[in-house]
Symmetry: C2
Subunit: 310 residues, 2 copies
């Protein structure tokens, strides 16, 4: 088996599943995960980073498999009480989850970077691989619907993805600096593979690629770039990927995702049903990750495929 | 029985007991409570107002009689988790209590005054009497100990009152504007009595009296000013009152408290053991408030005494 650094790009739930698989088949120092921060937002005076938190909770074994977000063994006293005080309760924050948001917000206000806070959280939760935000600068995904532009979490959680999506924008991306450690790792000549996890391409991966310099650094790192399709059997596993595709006038298929990534892709991992009609170099493997074993098996398949592309 | 407005000055636990008694023997519109904000502080990025919160929780029947602070039926997931993240856990914030701090901080940052937020909290918790902060401007009690100046909650909670107190200061008091509704009520000619609740004089009542204009407004409101001694049988009921007196070189007695309030006092309510040697006009009554009935009985005694002083 090859060695070298595996750089994974990930959003929330789907991406975190493969990131967990990768973390279980690779030594900690050989995995670096670049997390989407486009769906971060300010709520109740707190900075909330849903994708980073889903990743760290998943890697630490603290994730809540029933919800796909937040922590397991959670309590809800805060949320119950804030509702009685007339506070906003549409974004569910458990009491344990809240501790992370309060502590992170305090440290960001005190001048620490999101990278520093995230690294410390990972250390304290016993997470081996590095988890880096795509940027320490603020990037915020916005969604244009028929009623106008919405903040992402307003669209995603408050309105439960009901509005029809016409356009997406990543506010702040043009001025954001890529996370320096991620950039240095990509330029270091020791990258084994870049793995684009099976996250929603529009709202999880494209914000990362929109940070100036990151796409170029990925393309020129000297390692194969392999994506795993978030579409299985012509459907999205979870979340609004398929609905967004339709609303944006795109065919709901793995091929559509491959086209979005375009020349960046060296290889593409798809489920057997999704293979026909895709021009990228393919590896066909079961991509539905139900069990922990599924995550590890897919991680190994992706790495083996990437190694063959070198 | 007389009518007119009763204005009560109160700190936390001891004061809140009498405030509760007053609230149960007076129509809601005849009671206005001016709360100390000198022990407010910023912690974990949140603005925490311990005396206001003890008052509102007590008046709403949500107080925790076991601790004297916080809410009953509380859960502690937030606190447990923030400790694992390396956050500060010396000031105990329950999950339900936290909702108030988060929501208040959000609203203060959005430009609402502490008075507005407190009024809305009272309304939502079903509290009839008005609870007003002594000022919407920031006043912070500090404690000079042998090691230097400490923030009040550092002294009070983190160091559990262990350092020897040499001096107290109310930072910001000289520039603080008295809460305008309290000032207007005192000037309105309809005050029946001013009640100085049995709170710690040094850290609960004197910060209120240090707000420019408030002491004069109390003295000239045309109603008798009656204090209830926080010393019962030569001892403080709770908290560091007696220890502070000793360290400040004062005799631990009800007489010492009366001397601190000086010419402001028209009458003084003390327990039988504490009466000898006090020059103020006295009313002797049991001042230890153990049961709810004790609180009501003392409230009636204080009001009856004040009415005789008119």
């Amino acid at each position: 088996m090859s060695s070298g650094l595996v750089v994974a790009l990930s959003g929330g739930v789907g991406g975190a599943k493969l990131a967990l698989g990768l973390s279980r088949v690779l030594p900690a120092e050989e995995l670096l995960i670049v997390a989407n921060t486009g769906d971060d937002f300010e709520h109740l005076g707190l900075t909330i980073c849903p994708d980073i938190d889903t990743l760290t909770y998943t890697l630490a074994g603290l994730d809540n498999p029933a919800t796909g977000w937040g922590r397991r063994d959670e309590t809800w006293s805060f949320m119950e009480t804030i509702a009685t005080l007339g506070g906003e309760d549409w974004f569910r924050l458990g009491d344990r989850d809240l501790a992370l948001h309060v502590e992170r917000t305090r440290r960001l206000r005190a001048g620490e970077s999101l990278s520093q806070v995230t690294a410390d959280v990972c250390r304290r939760l016993g997470i081996g691989p590095r988890v880096l935000p795509m940027s320490d600068d603020r990037v915020r995904t916005r969604v244009r619907c028929d009623s106008g532009w919405l903040d992402f979490q307003d669209y995603f959680v408050r309105q439960q993805c009901r509005p029809v999506v016409r356009e997406l924008a990543f506010t702040g991306a043009a001025d954001a600096r890529p996370q320096p450690e991620a950039l240095a790792a990509l330029a270091g000549g020791n990258v084994r593979a870049v793995v684009i996890c099976p996250s929603n391409p529009f709202i999880s991966i494209e914000p990362i690629l929109a940070v100036p310099g990151l796409r170029a650094a990925l393309a020129s790192c000297g390692a194969p770039v392999v994506a795993v399709s978030p579409i299985v059997g012509g459907r999205a596993i979870k979340g609004p990927t398929a609905k967004m595709m339709q609303e944006l006038g795109l065919e709901v298929s793995s091929a559509t995702v491959a086209k979005r990534y375009g020349a960046l892709l060296d290889g593409y991992v798809v489920d057997a049903d999704d293979a026909p009609g895709i021009e990228a170099r393919l590896h066909v493997a079961p991509t539905l990750m139900t069990t922990l074993e599924d995550r590890e098996t897919l991680a190994r398949a992706v790495l083996g495929f990437a190694d063959k592309l070198r």
